[in-house]
Symmetry: C2
Subunit: 205 residues, 2 copies
């Protein structure tokens, strides 16, 4: 079994899987893929994932599982402890709610800013739309403000335990730097949360 | 228990939950909310969902669960049959992979086209970015072409059984009309799949 990841270690989605597995204490071999490299490499990746993205999990029988959260789901089912995707119907639904909010209303806007403004994405995101890049940071700041309010009442994003929603929010926050969005001031609860999750050993994965 | 949905029955995410529950054979009361209505209504919705979106599931004890897929997850856990989110670690991961692809690489692009071009969204999506609206339809057509290839070899999007991935792709396809994206010609496997899923009784939910 192995997981294809980006060679530079900067892409948020491979990092999400690495943090998830570090929290689980599960060891898997990572194989770096240089996405900026020659066409031939792209073709071998395309055979595994027609969307040409990493991470890609390849099981020993050759089964291919793409999409970071789907890979996390696979390991959550095989190694339920510690639960990172919730427990029980209500618990799983609450984690999924927050995970989706962090994905669609936070990470998404950071990623769109990056994809539509960064010179490195010029050939990957065609066409880059500068007006769209500029429209996204205000959504990011609104979400951080909302999280600051939520985190006044609890330790982690989906409740009193660390979950995949925290991982998604952590990679989104760190990716703001690459996307050139400044972290706002005046969000002490968000800052407290960020310091806590980014000082966990898994954050270095 | 009740689920808040849009009053006009056109929004894709409430429809996703309705189709999911119809496939499960689970009856829940739906309460229509007019999102275009007066500020006061918006405030009562904001208390339930700070992101001001439906669907919103309200349990009998007052617990609020937002986000369509999180609501689906809740009912999948309580009513596992028929499984719409996969079975076993590998099965659940494969459904999640296809569900995410349908969400992020299909529904997303249809929704962005709609949100950034339709006059009805002028006050909801600020600012509307016409260039971004125009950049999305090619991604939709690429995904349909990819699905046409995939569906040459199997009946449904995530395998031989109907799953939430089919529901997301169905609502995305139907929402193309609202977003004014024409369905392409020359995709017979996709057309066969669309005819099959849209003639299931649940599609009318």
């Amino acid at each position: 079994m192995k997981i294809l990841v980006d060679a530079h270690g900067r892409a948020p989605n491979p990092r999400r899987v690495k943090i998830f597995l570090a929290e689980k204490g599960v060891d898997v071999d990572y194989e770096p893929v240089d996405l900026a490299e020659m066409e031939q490499k792209k073709e071998s990746l395309t055979r595994l994932n027609p969307l040409q993205r990493v991470p890609v999990l390849i099981l020993d029988d050759g089964t291919v599982i793409c999409e970071s959260v789907a890979i996390c789901r696979y390991f959550e089912e095989l190694h339920p402890e510690p639960a990172l995707m919730g427990e029980g119907a209500q618990g799983k639904a609450m984690v999924e709610m927050w995970q989706r909010r962090m994905e669609l209303n936070f990470l998404f806007h950071v990623a769109q800013t990056f994809r539509h403004s960064h010179p490195a994405m010029k050939e990957m995101e065609v066409p880059q739309v500068p007006d769209w890049a500029a429209a996204n940071p205000p959504h990011v700041l609104r979400m951080i403000s909302m999280l600051d309010g939520e985190l006044a009442g609890r330790e982690f994003i989906a409740g009193d335990r660390f979950t995949i929603a925290d991982i998604t929010a952590l990679i989104a926050t760190d990716f703001m730097k690459v996307a050139r969005i400044d972290r706002p001031a005046g969000v002490p609860n968000f800052d407290r949360w960020y310091d806590a999750v980014s000082s966990r050993p898994s954050a270095g994965a």
